[in-house]
């Protein structure tokens, strides 16, 4: 199997690694970099548990090859907290009980974080549409919607 040298910035830190052509980004993050906050829930790009931001856009890292991340910026759930302070999206999920088992949560927060970056004041419909590629089996989405709204309100009052 051919090997490739890739340079990827993950949560602001530069990494240089030798990877197989077929190595999935999610396995690169989880097993080579030991960033296990990004989870795997399906094999068909449906569940969104593995969502990370690639150059700021949410992607499902189970269907991105690690080599495709060469020279690019990846942000995972571990990169949300800054200087010991939770990101508004994390705070929103905490305050509004937007998580139960916690398995879909990192992917759900990454998708929501990206939504708020491009739309700081989303409607309920826009939130539901944005997270429609992220499956949650525990919460019924009601409190996830509230969590995103909470984060949006917090970000607005901060700015």
């Amino acid at each position: 199997m051919a090997m490739h040298r890739i340079r990827v910035k993950v949560n602001g830190a530069a990494h240089e690694s030798e990877v197989e052509s077929r190595l999935l980004l999610v396995h690169y993050l989880r097993e080579m970099l030991r960033l296990t906050g990004t989870h795997i829930g399906c094999d068909t790009t449906h569940c969104g548990a593995c969502t990370v931001l690639l150059d700021g856009r949410p992607v499902k890292s189970c269907t991105v090859l690690a080599v495709q991340a060469d020279g690019r910026d990846v942000m995972t759930v571990e990169g949300l907290e800054k200087d010991g302070k939770l990101d508004p999206i994390q705070e929103g999920f905490f305050q509004e009980h937007g998580l139960q088992c916690g398995y879909c949560t990192p992917g759900m927060m990454m998708t929501s974080h990206a939504l708020l970056q491009r739309n700081p004041n989303p409607s309920e419909g826009e939130i539901r549409q944005a997270i429609s590629g992220n499956l949650c089996r525990c919460t019924g989405y009601v409190n996830i919607v509230k969590s995103v709204q909470h984060a949006a309100a917090a970000a607005r009052s901060r700015s």
Binding site: E20, R22, L23, H27, R30, E31, R34, L35, T36, G37, T38, H39, I40, G41, C42, D43, T44, H46, C47, A49, T76, V77, E78, L80, E81, L86, Q90, F93, F94, Q95, H97, L99, Q100, C101, G102, Y103, C104, T105, P106, M109, E124, I127, R128, Q129, I131, S132, G133, N134, L135, C136, R137, C138, T139, G140, Y141, V142, N143, I144, V145
Partner: protein, 791 residues
């Protein structure tokens, strides 16, 4: 009726406070610890080759090519395991199933060989390279055909087995029920099928098995809802190869959703353990989603014929239900041992039915073995679906309002505790209050008026009710056991010298928030702030023995054990307080967090002061320390209930059913954490809507799974899921130590018939009397087309 005011301050955070969850800080930072996050030194990976056929002879398994794949160390087949007599294993229902086959496969995606390799990619390559020669056999998919004379007998491994019937079970008085049906003014009858579904927790199943050859200790990190029971099962099944219970440690780390799917022992776990024992290195196995949907235990698959007898005025007189239960090729259900059809005999529901009879036949087919619950207590969803559906059929037949019919037949509040015709003692209930509240909240009368107006315009709108009664919290040891182990649960509570505490339980949270709610129970009973109570579960080396978390049993059993353990601690604390205050125990009064002297409230000792004294200044003759253990054997089950009302609009162009509003009034007795209860109900409603509208695992005639990935198995997204509206009534359980009943599954049980009843109600004027779930747009559109109302 209304929720009681909390007895503790928000800082203490006892019962009734919506304190934030203690488990969240790690999950929010991606610092949870799920099975696939575990990486041990030298760890190997396992992947499984599976059968493409639903029924076939295995003529040959060739592992040569697989062994040549770089990184592959071993290929394990049924023949390998046969050497250790581990190729078959018992199921929880005293049936048997294969770990790996030696000569035959019985369902599509059955495990055929396991490949052990240095990394997961090599293991997958190896599994793909295993060559198996099959000879296809006739496939039995339809459980009715499975019982016909001449059907191929599937379990030829069982000497003397001549048909595909697994068992017959019945409850109630057949003769009295038949008499009531003969004397009835009106009888309604419906064939109701509840298809196979899958819990599809977002985390699949897996384990890391780690056998230490030097110490002989086996540690298994695994996705299990019942770690202690698993330890004992492993010891019983593998005792002959040297695994002894004191040298088995099961650790259930963070679990990404369970819903019943993580109760069984799957072959993958056993093979990984065997591989680790043989190779002497840690072995990780994590199934992928397709394996999860195609091979893990299913839920439901009940073919029911339900009948209801009544007088002309709507008084129900008898119910009768005959069911065929498709269990796949082995009865691998996760029921209490004496209950092959679970608690299906709750099928008299919320109604004062004097006569009832139900019977269930378990059948073998060429499908994966099961079944488990799907966020419900042992077959309660099936029972509730039958009675709530047939009740609406009766309303339709009598041209009565379905709410009025329910009100007329509810078990009256004053009749509790109520003895049902099928033998249960319902502990408490106030059914009319819950339905009335739901009707008021949704504006029932106005909706009925709107429906009349809409119908006149040709628009399709329906209103559906479900007034369910659950039966949870298994269970009293007199009746409930799993493989002989009684279904108690436990808490071990230790208060430290500084007044902080650790509490360990025999259950295992999979998202329910036990670390928070159990701490609140201790806080309520002892006044120690919930923030100062560390809760641990899931490690059999440290937690007291318990039967685990499923069937809404955690709060009714382990939660109760927590309260009783805390009360035992309080009893000792009282002795210490009397010693410190130099008064008699009889002179002390308790309020949350302290004992004070009657009439002299300034003379008091806090629980923290008492805890310190327990280690530094305890009375002579008393043991030091402040701790207690309780193994709680509930005197009865608990009976949560509720009334749900659903409003749907149907698109005449596409057949799509849109849930406009859904009001859920639940009564789960006293509530520990209202925020968590509401979250559970939201999730439960969504998992109730899922099989009602979207999810189904079906098979073609060759036994091919038609919904084996998330491409075809439609887990609801945020788009289909409505914004649920919730409310409560509060009828405490009279026998539970703090009046709680359990709540995690009520909504999954109660929601489907409310949705189906709403859709049927929307189409009733067109002559529609029943629809089987899932009610897909295609199904509805075909009806609209047939009735000439499709747009």
């Amino acid at each position: 009726m209304s929720a009681p005011t909390p007895k503790t301050t928000p800082e203490v955070g006892g019962m009734g406070h919506s304190i934030k969850r203690k488990e969240d800080p790690r999950f929010l930072r991606g610092r949870g610890n799920y099975v696939d996050d575990i990486q041990l030194p030298g760890m190997l990976h396992m992947d499984i080759a599976r059968s493409p056929y639903a029924h076939a002879k295995i003529k040959k398994i060739d592992t040569e090519k697989a062994m040549k794949v770089p990184g592959v160390l071993a290929v394990i087949t049924g023949a390998t395991l046969e050497q250790y007599k581990l190729h078959w294993m018992p199921t929880l229902m005293s049936d048997t199933q294969m770990v790996l086959p030696t000569d035959r496969v019985m369902y599509q995606a059955q495990e055929v060989a396991a490949v052990i390799a240095t990394d997961r990619y090599a293991a997958a390559d190896g599994a793909a390279a295993v060559e198996v020669e099959y000879e296809p056999l006739p496939v039995v998919v339809d459980p009715f055909k499975a019982l016909e004379p001449g059907a191929p007998v599937l379990r030829t491994d069982k000497p003397g087995k001549k048909d595909n019937r697994i068992w017959h079970w019945e409850a109630g008085d057949r003769a009295a029920t038949e008499k009531a049906f003969r004397e009835a003014d009106v009888v309604v009858k419906e064939q109701i099928y509840i298809p196979r579904i899958h819990v599809a927790s977002i985390e699949t199943c897996g384990c890391v098995a780690d056998f230490d050859r030097v110490t002989g200790k086996l540690t298994v990190f695994m996705t299990t809802q019942a770690p202690h029971a698993i330890r004992t099962v492993f010891a019983l099944v593998a005792g002959h190869v040297g695994l002894s219970e004191e040298k088995i440690r099961i650790v259930s780390p963070d679990i990404g959703g369970g819903f019943g799917g993580k109760v069984p022992v799957y072959p993958g776990y056993v093979i990984a353990v065997a591989a680790s024992v043989v190779i002497g290195k840690p072995v990780k196995w994590v199934e992928d989603r397709m394996e999860n949907l195609q091979a893990d235990s299913f839920a439901r698959d009940y073919h029911m014929t339900a009948e209801l007898a009544a007088k002309k005025d709507g008084t129900m007189t008898a119910v009768r239900i005959k069911t065929l239960a498709d269990h796949g090729y082995a009865d691998a259900a996760a029921n209490p041992s004496k209950f092959p059809a679970g608690l299906f005999s709750i099928c008299t529901g919320s109604y004062d039915l004097k006569n009832a009879f139900c019977e269930v036949d378990g059948v073998y087919t060429n499908k994966p073995p099961g079944g488990v619950a799907y966020r419900c207590s042992f077959r309660v969803t099936e029972a509730v679906h039958a009675i709530e559906r047939i009740t609406d059929r009766l309303a339709q037949e009598l041209k009565m309002d379905p709410a009025a019919l329910r009100m007329k037949n509810f078990i009256p509040k004053e009749k509790f505790p109520y003895h049902s015709a099928l033998g249960w003692e319902y502990d408490s209930g106030d059914y009319p209050a819950a339905l009335k509240k739901a009707m008021d909240l949704i504006g029932y009368d106005a909706l009925r008026k709107e429906q009349v107006e809409k119908r006149a315009k040709g628009e399709l709108m329906g209103i559906g009710i479900s007034s369910f009664t659950e039966i949870v919290g298994a269970g009293p040891s007199k009746h409930f056991d799993i493989l002989g182990i009684k279904m108690f649960d436990s808490c071990e509570l230790r208060v430290h010298p500084t007044g902080k505490a650790i509490a360990r339980f025999g259950t295992k949270s999979q998202g329910q928030g036990h670390e928070t709610t159990y701490a609140q129970i201790i806080a309520e009973e002892l006044g120690i702030p919930a923030a100062h109570v560390q809760v641990e579960e899931g490690d059999t080396d440290t937690a007291p023995y318990g039967l685990g978390t499923y069937a809404s049993r955690s709060t009714p059993t382990a939660g109760a054990a927590g309260a009783i353990a805390a009360r035992k601690v309080r009893d000792k604390a009282k002795k210490i307080a009397a010693h410190l205050l130099e008064v008699s125990e009889d002179d002390l009064v308790w309020e949350p967090g302290k004992f004070s002297v009657k009439g002299a409230p300034q003379k008091a000792k806090t629980i923290q002061e008492i805890a310190l004294a327990a280690y530094t200044n305890h009375p002579q003759g008393m043991e030091a320390g402040l701790e207690a253990v309780d193994y709680y054997d509930p005197p009865n089950l608990t009976f949560p209930f509720g009334s749900y009302i659903c409003v749907v609009d149907i698109d005449r162009g596409t057949g799509e059913v849109k849930i406009r509003r859904f009001v859920a009034v639940d009564d789960c007795g006293n509530i520990i954490n209202p925020m968590i209860v509401d979250g559970q109900i939201h999730g439960g409603l969504t998992m109730g809507m899922a099989p009602a509208l979207l999810e189904e695992i079906s098979y073609d005639e060759q036994g091919n799974n038609q919904a084996g990935s998330f491409m075809d198995y439609l887990v609801p997204t945020a788009m289909e899921t409505p914004s649920w509206e919730t409310a409560k009534t509060t009828t405490p359980s009279p026998h539970h130590p703090f009046g709680a009943k359990g709540v995690g599954e009520s909504a999954t049980v109660g929601a489907p018939p409310a949705i189906v009843n709403a859709v049927v109600d929307a189409l009733a004027h067109l002559g529609v009397k029943h629809l089987d779930i899932p009610i897909t747009p295609e199904k509805v559109w075909r009806i609209l087309k047939e009735k000439g109302v499709a747009e």
